[in-house]
Amino acid sequence: MTRVRLYQLAVVLAFVLALEGLCAVGVIDKITMPAPHIILRDFFRLLLEGRYFDEIGKSLANVLVAFALAFVVGAVTGTILHGYRTARDILDPLFATYYAIPVFAFYPLFIVMFGLGDGPQLLIGFLLGVVAVIVTTLNGLDRVPLVLKKTARVNRLGPLQTALRVTLPFCAPYLLTAAKLALAYAFIGVIGSEFIMARAGMGYEIGYAYTNFDNATMYPLILLILLLSILVNGLLSHWEKTLLARRGLA
């Protein structure tokens, strides 16, 4: 194990042990937070009983749909936009300011427009992610070497074939970064929306458990969401690194 890994392990252990200690001494009372070992026990109990599998499945399905929409629409829009300099210049201030805008503030409006179903949640997840995908795709396409474009022209490829066979494959690492961002945003968007106002889903269950002081459900579910998002993010980051390393970029 490298020193960095040991350090990280030590930080996590120290954090958990500190919480355990604070809970044991009573600085953190039981109503506020159960001790970490109890959370872990509840976590496995919850998974073994399979009580929330429907809710988990529903949330994850929505996350996937929001992610797929944001990724496909974003990549296609980015590819088309790359050819139109003026349109890109006009949209540039929007892209630069986009992530300063509280997209969640639109959630009430979407509920009024589409009703309290999956629609508003998907839309929030999509809207959070799509611009990151567009910007990352544009960024990748800007870096396509001239020689590749010339080769495409020599082989008389049309714009669609050039994109599919030459430029987009070159941009694979950038598209992977875009996918990572879109997935993280889809997670935040869907779970966050469920949490604010919804009828089902993991975020909704956490909010419900909170209002009922049901710590034995709330903490394990929060732990599950944190573990899931860290795991997925870690896997994609790892893949991204190997891809970059193969190209000698990292």
């Binding site: 503030a105 009430p108 409006l109 949490f195």
Partner: protein, 249 residues
Amino acid sequence: MQADERKPLRNTLILIVGLLAVWQLAYWLVGDVALRSPWQTIAFLGKLMRTDIFWIHLRDTLEAFGVALAIAVVLGLLIGFALGLHRLSGDAMEPMLVALYSIPKITLYPIILLFFGLGLSAKIAFGAIHGIIPVALFTLNAVRSIRPILVKTGRVFKLSQPMMVREVLFPAAVPEIFTGIRVGFSLTLIGTVLGEMFAAQHGLGYLLMNAISLYNVDLIMAVTFLLVVFAASVNTALLAIDRRLHHGG
């Protein structure tokens, strides 16, 4: 040169007109049930601004946001400098900070509510945790990428650690740190409003959620519009300063 400077301004104007046109079109399509036109929204916002209640909610949000931002910047700078100055800590903690950055922090809000209780301090804490990480990450990378010759020069002058930070590291890292603060500003605002949307009795976020249960489309549109305009205009101003810092004016 002058034409070049005017171009972004012209583009922004075209963009704003375009967005207003899309909004107006959407209004014509959807109708009065769920939307208001740009003009109606601005008119309602004007009316809203003449009520006392609105200013109470606005002050509450701004107060929570201001304190949260101050905490985020101070703690973010401290963490960033501490990790940036120590190689191993920086290498180990950076991926962990990035992982924390990508989790849906909103799920942590119930925990914060249990620890801080329902009220101003919970909102502040929630806003601050959104802002700390970007400020820390940008500071960490800024401190790390400072040219070694600057640090060596500082050592030649036998500067103490606090002097080194104040006279050499901080000035050299300012452009990157400012970018971090800009991102932190936006995220802290989002965090504060989100906190108000889930559980609060005051603030713009509360006003928004309350408007859903009353089915008050005017109020929803006006508050959303206000939040978007505020966030977008402050960010545009910060972005302009940011670009100037990075390109040396």
